[in-house]
Symmetry: none
Subunit: 243 residues, 2 copies
């Protein structure tokens, strides 16, 4: 049985963040994707204060909880996941690509508190930080330039977690133009083509069929068909009015 | 037959970007995910200069191409995709969730140049910008806070495009008409509509955008575009020859 993702179960944990803009950006992405519980561990004090007091600072940031250690910040969580770039130090953990990791996280998020850890801009998660993690995941960046901006990494991870949560919204299937309407368009276009000399007055059936097929390939919806028909009628009227 | 995603076919197009940090962040995400071709349209001059000269500015940013109009920036692209939040203005376009939109883009990216448009931080894409798009996609943010930071939106979109790279890519069979060709058709149709009195000689930008969107919705392939252009040219020639 699968439960629903419970966003309130996720704690995004930012460790030793240095740049107030990154704190702000991470909080904004959280708000965009509906994850509102931010925890910060030993942020640069000034950065945290600046970010919190910035104009337009999000509610997420204002309600962020501050901790002195990773252990405290993840104490109530039953799953702790770290983020890393591939090349960082020796690995002692299972490492999943983001899409697989997010799928695993969704399973837990239905019923349990889960922590998702992001390290500092400069050094990422330390070995001590990593030691609190059950497993790690990485965003599939290219080898030549693997390290993402912190705010962008948070955005991409959260996007992946909500990504498949909602059913697909397929755009309203547009109402297609009726065959009758398409045939009217074809006739008026043929008139315009004859009147303009593009087709000879006695154009062959082959030419007519070519125009007919063209109109069908356009996959017009009802509204566009009406629009096009109006344009063509006016053009034909004008072509004829000058004869 | 399946092709591979060809990252070099993607042009990320940033329109009227105001903040140099966002230009830098967008370029960084591009580099992270292996898309190296950035185009900027009318960026705030100072922002562009600052971003380019910033310490650690990426190669992507240094090689960015600058354009004066959206039409020029997408001229060589056979698919033009806009990004939008759900609530922006009235919709005239098909709108897909990012994951579905990215899947569609991957199909084209295997063989053809594709443009992905991002509007300014404040206003997003204008109606004129949108009129150059074949369809739109949106990131599934929550209703209460839908608007993402520009750099994060770029990161999430590019992530989604590479995400399933190793999974399915079904290339589009048809060679789509280039944006340049579609713009030619739009211009000639506008001439026909003005000459026939359907539009007043000084038709508003709104009317022009309406015609431009109609042409994009037809999803013309290269052959049909040529055919339609020939027809319209002859009609305009005739309309004028009698004046």
């Amino acid at each position: 049985m699968r439960g629903l993702l419970e966003p309130d179960n996720l704690r995004v944990v930012l460790i030793a963040t240095r740049n107030p803009l990154n704190l702000g950006a991470a909080a904004r992405a959280m708000s965009n994707f509906g994850f509102l519980r931010l925890r910060v561990v030993n942020p640069y004090e000034l950065a945290f204060r600046e970010a919190r007091s910035a104009v337009g600072a999000s509610a997420v940031l204002k309600h962020a909880e501050e901790f002195q250690s990773v252990a405290d910040a993840v104490a109530d969580c039953s799953l702790v996941v770290g983020t890393t770039t591939l090349r960082e130090r020796e690995r002692h953990h299972e490492l999943y690509r983001l899409e697989e990791g997010a799928e695993r996280m969704r399973g837990s998020l239905a019923s349990q508190p889960v922590a998702l850890l992001f390290g500092s801009e400069k050094t990422g998660l330390s070995n001590e930080d990593l030691s609190h993690c059950h497993w790690l995941m990485h965003i599939p960046t290219r080898e030549k330039h693997p390290s993402m901006n912190l705010g962008q990494a948070v955005a991409v991870c959260l996007y992946e977690i909500v990504r498949s949560e909602h059913a697909k919204i397929s755009p309203d299937p547009a109402e297609h133009a009726s065959a009758e309407k398409l045939e009217r368009i074809t006739e008026v276009l043929l008139d315009a083509l004859r009147d303009s000399g593009y087709l000879s007055p006695k154009a062959s059936q082959t030419s007519e069929a070519k125009v007919r097929r063209l109109i069908r390939r356009l996959h017009l919806d009802a509204g566009d068909a009406e629009l096009l028909l109006g344009m063509l009628r006016q053009i034909v009227w004008k072509l004829r009015s000058r004869k």
